[in-house]
Structures are given as structure tokens and as C-alpha cells.
Symmetry: C2
Subunit: 205 residues, 2 copies
């Protein structure tokens, strides 16, 4: 579907958004392609032309949730080469992007048995996030603003911790009780900043 017209792209988007809305509420397996069409106001036959199977619709939901490119752009615009400022910025942008697409994530959490969480589509964004933060941290190490150690591992620890909090957020009904987690997340990010800065080097990666 690389060469879609704007009208086609618009139709695809309407179908995907209707599917996300229904599936995040009721679960992937309890929503039919017919219902998605009805919700989107698009006839069943057209929906089937875009998505021959529900699995292909799920793949599109994963693509719809892409966040890394936007995050990278905003991070590179906003960073000041101060470790504390920049890691907080990265975390804030990450939650901003993934929270906005929370329902897409819930839709495919409800389809766990149909999702390959080791698949290329699923891993693309985490990998892109890891890659550009590695570039950043390597540059910071060269500037003498980040302690010595395995940058790839340090970034993996940071990014995995963000993913964990995001999962807790997406899992939570309506994001209730998320407020309770924000303070603990901030403290965790502070520990990373302290641990990665040039002065806090008693932990070796």
C-alpha cells in the first residue's frame, strides 16, 4: 500500500481509528471487521479490500502507533546537552507520544496471542529510540558529561524502564491511579541522571 492516494490514506486511517476505539474497549477478538466498517461508516466490502484479515488490521494498528521518529525530531530540537535536562526531555516526550496512542497499544495488548512481540513491526520503535539515545549518550561521553561505561547498556536500562512505566500506564483502566506512579517515575529518572552523570560513578555498566 505504498502508493496510496490521499483518499485511500484517509479511508485507511478512518478504519484503523475505528478499530482501535472498538478493540481497546472490548478486546481484539470481540470486534468483527463488519463492526469496524460500521463504526468507520465504510462498507464492509471496502474494509475487506484494505484488510483481508483481522491480523493485517492489527499490523496496521502497530504501525499507527509509531512514535520514535517524532520523538527523535523533538528531542533533537529541544536538547541542550545538559544531561538532566535532556533525559527528562526524552522521558517527557516518550510519555507524551505513547500516552496519546494508548488505545492502540491496549488494542494489541488484547490480541497478545496474535501479536509477535519479537516481530520487526513491534520492535521498530524501541530500536529507533535506543539508537538515537545511544548517539546522544556517546556524544555526551565524549564531552565528558557522562561517566565511562557501556553506553548501549546504559541506554537500554533507561529505555526499558520507560517502557515498563508505559506498560503500567496502558494496562491501567482509564489511566486511573497513574498519578500515583508519576512521582515514583520521576524519582527513578533522577536515579538514572545521578548514576550516569560524571560525578556518580560508583556503579559500573
Amino acid at each position: 500500500m505504498e502508493q496510496m492516494t490521499r483518499i485511500q490514506q484517509n479511508t485507511l486511517r478512518r478504519i484503523v481509528e475505528a478499530a482501535i476505539e472498538l478493540m481497546s474497549e472490548r478486546g481484539f477478538h470481540r470486534v468483527s471487521v463488519q463492526e469496524v466498517g460500521k463504526k468507520a461508516g465504510i462498507c464492509e466490502k471496502t474494509v475487506f479490500r484494505y484488510f483481508a484479515t483481522k491480523k493485517s488490521l492489527l499490523d496496521e494498528i502497530i504501525r499507527y502507533r509509531a512514535y520514535a521518529s517524532e520523538l527523535k525530531r523533538e528531542f533533537e530540537n529541544g536538547r541542550t546537552w545538559n544531561l538532566e535536562h535532556d533525559l527528562k526531555l526524552a522521558a517527557r516526550l516518550y510519555f507524551q507520544e505513547t500516552k496519546a496512542k494508548r488505545n492502540a497499544f491496549r488494542a494489541y495488548l488484547s490480541a497478545l496471542d496474535s501479536v509477535d512481540t519479537n516481530g520487526e513491526d513491534f520492535l521498530r520503535d524501541p530500536r529507533e529510540l535506543h539508537a538515537f539515545l545511544c548517539d546522544y549518550m556517546t556524544a555526551m561521553q565524549e564531552k565528558g558529561k557522562v561517566r565511562a561505561g557501556d553506553v548501549r547498556l546504559m541506554v537500554r536500562a533507561f529505555v526499558n524502564t520507560l517502557h515498563g512505566y508505559m506498560l503500567m500506564y496502558c494496562l491501567n483502566d482509564d489511566g486511573k491511579s497513574w498519578g500515583d506512579k508519576v512521582a515514583s517515575m520521576k524519582l527513578t529518572i533522577d536515579l538514572f541522571i545521578q548514576g550516569f552523570s560524571q560525578t556518580g560513578n560508583s556503579v559500573t555498566a
Copy 2:
């Protein structure tokens, strides 16, 4: 069902384990009570006597996954009042317990729309874990082995980080690629130990 005989308890356990096996593979909504009975080798009528609804079966799966009491017992037996040793022990026990019950967690991740993740059953174990680690950290603070600060918040950050990694593990197909996460989890726990110890007190909770 407080006053069950041993035979009844055994029957209940067989039903729950059969349900977990089927639901963790195929998803909650794609498994019928009939299939659970067949898998468990128990007639449908009996299954319905124990579980009038699929939702009640899901509630029992949540109870089946309880880990905090066992974790507390083993932590209190094994702790040495050395912060590094004890936080690593707590993390190890947490993953040991929750990984063993990974399929139960996957079963109810697949039923997100039917699970109240703010419900009492869902929150009991995280709360118990938080409570006994708070007792431990308060004692450590009194011994002068943990820096000053809000113990409840410090423990929440630690526990939420463990939950996040556990979610990533449970989400992952067959736990593949989990090996990649272990090193980053260890580094993260090291950051907590460093940040919470008496010497590393530049972060204030």
C-alpha cells in the same frame, strides 16, 4: 468458597490451571468454559458449579497468581541487612515468583477489557510487596544504612520498576529476548542501590 474440602480445592485448581494454559495461548475470549472442562477432564456441569461465569474464573486466575506472601516469607528469611544484598534478593525473588506464574498473567492481559486493574484483587499483591519493603527500608533508615527521604516513595519507585520489567517479560512471546533485558535490569537495580545508600544522597525523594 472458604470452606472447601481438599477434593474441592483440587478440582478448583485443576480447572484454573487448565484455563490458564488455554487462555495464555489463545486469549481469554477465545476459550469457552466447555473447553476448560474438557482440558481439565472435568464435566461441564461441575465447572459451572465452581465458576458460574467466565469472569469469576478470571478472578480466580488473579488469586492463583498471588506471589507477595511467599515473597515476603523468603525475603525475611534471606535478608542480611546489607542494602545491596537485600534489594537484589527482593528483585530475584520477585522475578522468580512472577515468572513462574507468567501464563496466569498473560491470561488476564488477554482479558484487559474484563479486568479491573484498579480492583482489590488486582492490587493486593503489589500493595503487600510495597508494605513489607517499606517496613524493611524504614528499619534500614533507622540503622543509618539508607539515606534520608520519603521511604514510601523510594519503595514505590523500586517496586514499580520491577513491575515494569515483569510486564515486559510477560508480554514477550515465550520470554524470548528476555536475556537481553536482564543486564539492563541489573544495571537499573544497581542505580537504586547506589541512589538509596547512605553515600549516594544527591537525589532527594
